[in-house]
């Protein structure tokens, strides 16, 4: 297993604390003029998503968390687990709801996504920044109204609900920014 000294701390470094993998999101050196130096870090628990503050003596060593990001294809859900496949090795992985909770509403079967693996099991799944999905349900479009004045909710094929302009009809394929959950535009097919 890799170990890191506090002098190697930087944002994005994955470390192991009390058995859980964490991502460093902030690192600050605190050094009293006449005393021990410390690294005060904000770390995000990659299992729970919770961010906490921890402080280390400068110069201490910390175990690295063996965390890897891999591009994978979403296969299907059996109702309890969500199945992904590495397209290079064809190896399959199953993820629990906690790992996919924030993103599964943007994924349909066979879509590509980024899976973060820890000890070979999925910790979290990130959808692409932009996805193209079909509207399965929305109020009838107001033809000719392209002024962009108002919006209405539309349900997509994956179950996600986004606000779309009034003129966008059911059955249309739209592009959505998954980071903000906002409608970007219609996709001409």
């Amino acid at each position: 297993m890799s170990t890191y000294s506090t002098s190697q701390f930087k944002n994005g470094l994955k470390i192991l604390l009390d058995g859980d993998p964490y991502n460093i999101v902030e690192n600050e050196i605190v050094k009293p003029g006449k005393g021990q130096a410390f690294n005060r870090v904000k770390v995000k628990n990659l299992k729970t998503g919770r961010t906490i503050e921890k402080t280390f003596k400068s110069g201490e060593k910390v175990d690295g968390a063996d965390v890897m990001e891999t591009e994978m294809q979403y296969l299907y859900t059996d109702g309890e687990f969500y199945h992904f496949m590495d397209p290079n090795s064809f190896e399959q992985f199953e993820a629990g709801l906690a790992a996919v909770e924030d993103c599964i509403k943007w994924l349909k079967e066979e879509d590509m996504c980024t899976v973060t693996l820890w000890n070979n099991s999925p910790l979290s799944v990130e959808p692409p920044n932009f996805v193209e999905l079909k509207i399965t349900e929305t109020d009838p479009g107001v033809r000719g109204d392209t002024s962009g004045g108002g919006s209405k909710p539309a349900t997509l094929e994956t179950g996600a609900v986004v606000q779309v302009p009034l003129f966008v009809p059911e059955g249309e394929i739209i592009k959505v920014d998954t980071r903000s959950g906002e409608y970007v535009g219609r996709v001409k097919k």
Binding site: I29, V30, K31, P32, G33, Q36, F38, K57
Partner: protein, 317 residues
């Protein structure tokens, strides 16, 4: 191209002019002392830069971490009140608020107590704030123990290290148990400092005796020493002592530092025998303080990193 705006370079020149004017009006003499020395600061928490020896019989020379040993040798020789705008060097200290090479304003006042000197630091700070267009700041004084009572709810000097370690863990410390002194550093720097009102000029005095460095032990309470720090805008800006003048006690502290260094597998360092000789011949009663000018300028100009005031930080020097 310089890292910081040229305006910051000009503001530094203005700050130095202001400081020199301040001391000229008070008959404190500007001095210049060596950067390169045959001796080193033994302080356990400070790493010293080393280079080739100056003379044939010394293999190593050291960059000063503070000008204070030279200043005390001048004081013992009858130098009177003195100050220096001094470049100093501390290995490995690099962050938003640390640069391995930095500038201290260090000055000494004969026959002054710690409290006399705190008052002068406050006057210098207020006049500097005014010169840079800042409003007058509220000045507060609080003892180290009272500050701890206020923000921690207990007196850490009255606690065993097991209790202190528990408290550090509750405040997010992760790692092996620390020494009593390390716990004090943690509680002060990590827990208390972020809670302080940034706009006050806060003088914290009577630090723990274990952190006396070159300060006298407090004759009224030997668990504390005659040392203060000035906190402003969330930073330790200045560190002052009513100076230890006893050569024998000074020698013991140097020896103790080196013993602690050995125990921590750090190299022992040659301490300044000239300083001890000067103290033995008679260092007058005095108080001295060092104020970090890069940090002061950084906060005066409302930037959040030393890169905002250093034209060439170490990584670009």
């Amino acid at each position: 191209m310089p890292e910081c705006p040229l305006d910051a370079v000009q503001q530094r020149a203005f700050l130095y002019r202001h400081i020199r004017q301040f001391f000229a009006e008070r008959q404190v003499m500007e001095v210049e002392t060596p950067v390169l020395s045959n001796h080193a600061n033994t302080d356990v928490q400070i790493e010293v830069f080393q280079t080739q020896g100056i003379t044939d019989d010394a293999s190593t020379a050291y960059l000063r971490t503070s000008p204070e040993f030279f200043h005390k040798r001048l004081l013992a020789a009858g130098g009177g009140d003195i100050y220096e705008i001094a470049k100093v060097f501390r290995l490995g200290e690099s962050s938003r608020r640390h640069n391995p090479e930095f500038t201290l304003l260090e000055w000494y006042r004969l026959d002054w107590t710690l409290f006399d000197l705190m008052d002068e630091v406050a006057v210098l700070m207020q006049s500097t704030l005014n010169a840079f267009g800042w409003p007058k700041a509220e000045v507060k004084h609080i003892s180290y123990v009272d500050l701890c009572q206020l923000h921690l709810g207990f007196n850490p000097l009255a606690n065993e290290k097991e209790e202190l370690n528990r408290s550090c863990q509750e405040h997010g410390y992760h790692g092996d148990a620390m020494s009593h002194s390390q716990c004090l550093d943690f509680l002060f720097a990590v827990v208390i400092e972020p809670k302080l009102n940034p706009n006050e000029l806060l003088f914290v005095y009577h630090f723990p005796a274990s952190q006396a460095a070159l300060a006298q032990i407090n004759p009224e309470d030997p668990s504390t020493c005659l040392r203060f720090e000035l906190m402003w805008q969330g930073l330790e800006l200045a560190n002052g002592y009513q100076e230890l003048t006893d050569a024998e006690e000074q020698r013991q502290r140097f020896e103790q530092d080196n013993q602690t260094r050995s125990a921590m597998n750090k190299p022992t360092l040659p301490y300044d025998a000239h300083l001890l000789a000067a103290m033995a011949s008679g260092l007058p009663a005095c108080s001295g303080v060092a104020l970090g000018l890069d940090r002061l300028l950084m906060k005066l100009l409302k930037t959040e990193s030393l890169a905002g005031v250093l034209p060439f930080p170490t990584n670009r020097a």
